[in-house]
């Protein structure tokens, strides 16, 4: 027995509409009220992405904004020293956008004070020939009071690869964290303290 392809398409479309109409894909209604809004800059340039990281990282109201700066292909690479120091725990393996989101949420819920600063660019930017990819080399410091760590000042370098997608907005695809030789803990060290197992 065979069915005409037009018929099959019509049946499948009907099934899609039926399932969609029975509320399976409807979000819940928010509770009454409505808090304050934290502006999130549309990332039309790499500078907008940096602004949003500084303003929204580890912030309870800024989780949506910070995670929207991460591309679906986002990968975080720790400093080899941090990775080595954590052994035999392989906590840094598979650090994608979902893991970064979870860690940011945990930090936001746990930190009592936070301030992220990109101090300077320690090397010239690399721009791709078509202008849609940039690598920027930042020196950063981070002040966070978070119960999981005795340290409150973190410092290092962040090599960020930013990509302008087909929607013309810029997002981070790679974040390579590096110690800066000061002996201070890096951002990557702080991150690993807030990654639960199983994520």
């Amino acid at each position: 027995m065979t069915i005409r392809i037009e018929g099959a398409l019509a049946v499948l479309l009907l099934a899609l509409l039926t399932l969609a109409s029975c509320g399976l894909f409807e979000p819940r209604n928010p509770k009454p009220g409505g808090g304050t809004i934290v502006p999130c800059v549309t990332p039309n340039s790499p500078e907008d992405v940096i602004t949003n990281i500084v303003d929204h990282y580890a912030s309870d109201a800024g989780i949506t904004c910070y995670t929207s700066m991460l591309d679906a292909s986002f990968v975080f690479h720790p400093d080899p020293g941090d990775s080595n120091e954590a052994l035999p725990d392989t906590v840094y393996v598979g650090w994608n956008r979902d893991v970064e989101t979870r860690v940011d949420q945990n930090l936001a819920a746990n930190a009592t004070f936070h301030q992220a600063v990109f101090d300077s660019e320690y090397a010239a930017r690399v721009v791709s020939a078509d202008g849609h990819t940039q690598i920027r080399f930042y020196a950063y410091h981070l002040r966070i009071r978070a119960p999981q760590s005795a340290d409150t000042l973190y410092q290092g370098r962040a090599d960020l690869t930013l990509f302008q997608g087909t929607d013309t907005q810029w997002r981070i695809t790679d974040w390579a964290d590096k110690r800066d030789g000061s002996g201070l803990r890096s951002w990557g060290y702080l991150r690993r303290l807030y990654r639960p197992a199983g994520t």
């Binding site: 065979t2 009454p32 809004i37 930017r125 202008g131 087909t166 590096k178 030789g181 807030y194």
Partner: protein, 619 residues
């Protein structure tokens, strides 16, 4: 076989080597595999890492069903920066004894017993910032040497069985178990200066004797029925206890993992050209950390996936898939306990109307709902997304074709708690893409892609109306390629992007929303590249690029312009040398600067070399 390569880019120099050797005679086989990678972080002077692994294995077939093997593994990981050096070494020596107890066409039973000696050493030296008490004095330490030794024997057994019960039923089962008795010793030496100026050393030694073990089992049943029916059930179990020294917390960490999962699979072609597939899965994972309890978690999940595909001919096909997934996480002390529900539905179809004209379409809807426990309920959120994609392709000839695509996506993020629901918003994207491929002559071709996008971010709550944003963009990418007698290619590329953004709000509830442009941005990239192949396996190229960015802010009539020039030149070699060896090498030089807008501006010049060479040799 030996491979070596060296790659150097802007921030990193990487040297990698690998060697493998295999020798096999009637009863004896020997093998050795090694690799070593060294990374220098050029921009972070004095920083880098090394990693290496060497595995040697010898096995001897004593009888037809009995095999003895001796395997040694050495692993090294090292990292350094101006302040901190870390080295980690692992040595393993394993003697294994494999028996093929039963081996027939319908049944095979295999068992392996092994004993292993393990030895690990981790050494870190660097600064220390701690306050320590020695005798009656308190000092602040400034340096440390932290050494951790782990050693002990491990015994293990693995068993596997494959049984063809009937032509329509197969079964397999595997079991493995290990037991490890380790001795872990930590030797921490911290150095500081007493108030009288005397340098002192503060030693701290700890010893642990943990007992670890792992048991795992899995079983699979496969049923092959008539008319393409296939059903299977796969069950897995893992119970593991592993201990290691947690350097940060100066204590032994015991990680207990308990995992169980069951996976069912069913597939059946109900009619010719169709395939129905149904998968169901339940899984449970408990990870318990004795010292760093914040990493403890328990995840219970269940998911189902079904798909139906119908493709009776090359003229068209249609498919649908539906997935539901539910995961419950608890026992996490740093938050994130709750249930995550995911539902996803997708419909795809393709139909060829004529030999030249074809249409494709797809539609999808999904919901991701995160429902935390009451104590964390303020982080509750739902994200609903829907997408519709319709495309048509018209092919005039091999050299000339055009594609048009219309895409609509809508994502709606809803925070449930009032403390965050002010940011609830829907992002709707409308996108039209068109592509043109034109072969003007056999050597000259033109590719052009157009894209127009409008993105509306509309906040749910009326007080947030002023935050509504509209972003629009137009993008045109053009590539012209001319090939000269297959020895050289000239390519001219132009990328044009215009985007504007601004507020999109209504002045009163009765009025329609109006677009107020706040920012306009033009980005253009012009690139001319000449590639030549002067000899077989050799390619050289040179490329001149100009990236131009202009920004206009209509409210203040502020205009900025940024021109960046880039010259890229390079060559690559891909050749066979010395008979059986091959050499691949490439280098690239990227010079760039940004035009000054005022005489005092920095040119932001950079001159970067990127090079790599790889040698492969078989003996």
């Amino acid at each position: 076989m030996y491979d070596t390569s060296y790659d150097r880019d802007r921030s990193t120099g990487t040297w990698a080597q690998s060697l493998s050797y295999n020798y096999a005679r009637q009863r004896l086989s020997l093998s050795a595999n090694g690799n070593y990678t060294s990374i220098d972080l050029i921009l972070n002077q004095g920083s880098g890492s090394e990693s290496g692994n060497l595995t040697t294995r010898g096995s001897f077939l004593v009888t037809r069903r009995w095999n003895l093997a001796l395997e040694g593994t050495f692993t090294h990981l090292g990292s350094r920066d101006p302040q901190i050096r870390a080295n980690d070494r692992q040595n393993r020596l394993r003697l294994s004894n494999q028996l093929n107890l039963v081996s027939s066409p319908t049944l095979s039973l295999q068992s392996t017993l092994y004993g292993e000696i393990e030895q690990d050493h981790g050494l870190t030296s660097g600064p220390a910032f701690r306050t320590r008490t020695i005798a009656a004095d308190t000092i602040r330490t400034d340096a440390k040497r932290d050494s951790v030794y782990t050693r002990g024997p491990q015994e293990g057994i693995t068993m596997g069985a494959r049984w063809t019960i009937a032509p329509w039923m197969k079964m397999s089962a595997d079991f493995s178990g290990t037991r490890t008795q380790r001795k872990i010793s930590s030797y921490l030496h911290e150095f500081g200066t007493r108030q009288d100026g005397v340098r002192v050393e503060v030693p701290d030694t700890q010893h642990f004797n943990p007992m670890d073990g792992t048991q795992s089992a899995q079983s699979q049943w496969v049923y092959s029925g008539k008319r393409g029916l296939l059903a299977s059930l796969n069950m897995k179990y893992l119970d593991s206890d592993q201990s290691y020294y947690e350097k940060d917390l100066r204590n032994i960490e015991q990680l207990g993992i308990n995992q169980r999962s069951a996976l069912g699979h069913f597939e059946y072609p109900p009619i010719r050209g169709a395939q129905l597939t149904i998968d169901g899965k339940r899984d449970y994972t408990l990870s318990q950390y004795s010292t760093r309890g914040t990493r403890t978690s328990r995840v219970t999940g269940q998911s189902a996936h079904s798909s139906l595909f119908y493709g009776p001919s090359v003229k068209g096909n249609a498919g649908a898939e539906f997935t539901v997934d539910q995961r419950k996480t608890d026992l996490q002390t740093i938050g994130g306990n709750g249930v995550t529900i995911t539902r996803f539905l997708q419909l795809t179809g393709m139909y060829r109307l004529t030999r030249r004209l074809g249409v494709q379409g797809s539609g999808s809807a999904s919901l991701n709902s995160i429902q935390f426990v009451p104590a964390e309920a303020k982080a509750d959120q739902d994200y609903a997304r829907a997408a519709l994609n319709v495309a048509g392709t018209y092919t005039i000839s091999k050299q000339c074709s055009t594609t048009v695509r219309f895409l609509v996506t809508r994502g709606h993020l809803v925070w449930i708690d009032p403390s965050r629901s002010g940011t609830n918003s829907a992002l709707t994207n409308y996108q039209v893409d068109a592509g043109l491929k034109l072969g003007v002559t056999p050597t000259l071709s033109i590719n052009q892609n157009y894209s127009f996008v409008a993105s509306y971010t509309i906040y749910d709550q009326l007080p947030s109306e002023s935050k509504n944003v509209l972003n629009r963009s137009k993008r045109i990418d053009t590539t012209v390629t001319e090939t000269f007698f297959s020895v050289a290619t000239f390519q001219l590329t132009h990328n044009f992007l215009f985007l504007d953004s601004g507020s999109f709000q209504r002045r009163s509830a009765s009025e329609a929303r109006l677009y107020n442009v706040l920012n306009e941005r033009w980005q253009q990239a012009l690139s001319a590249t000449l590639t030549a192949k002067p000899a077989r396996g050799i390619q050289i190229y040179i490329s001149q690029n100009l990236n131009n960015t202009r920004i206009h802010q209509p409210a203040s009539d502020l205009r900025t312009r940024d021109n960046q020039w880039q010259l890229v030149s390079g060559a690559s070699v891909d050749r066979t040398i010395l008979g059986s060896a091959s050499l691949h090498g490439s280098f690239q030089r990227i010079q760039q600067y940004t035009e000054r807008q005022s005489p005092a501006d920095d040119l932001r010049e950079s001159d970067v070399w990127v090079a790599g060479v790889a040698l492969h040799k078989e003996f």
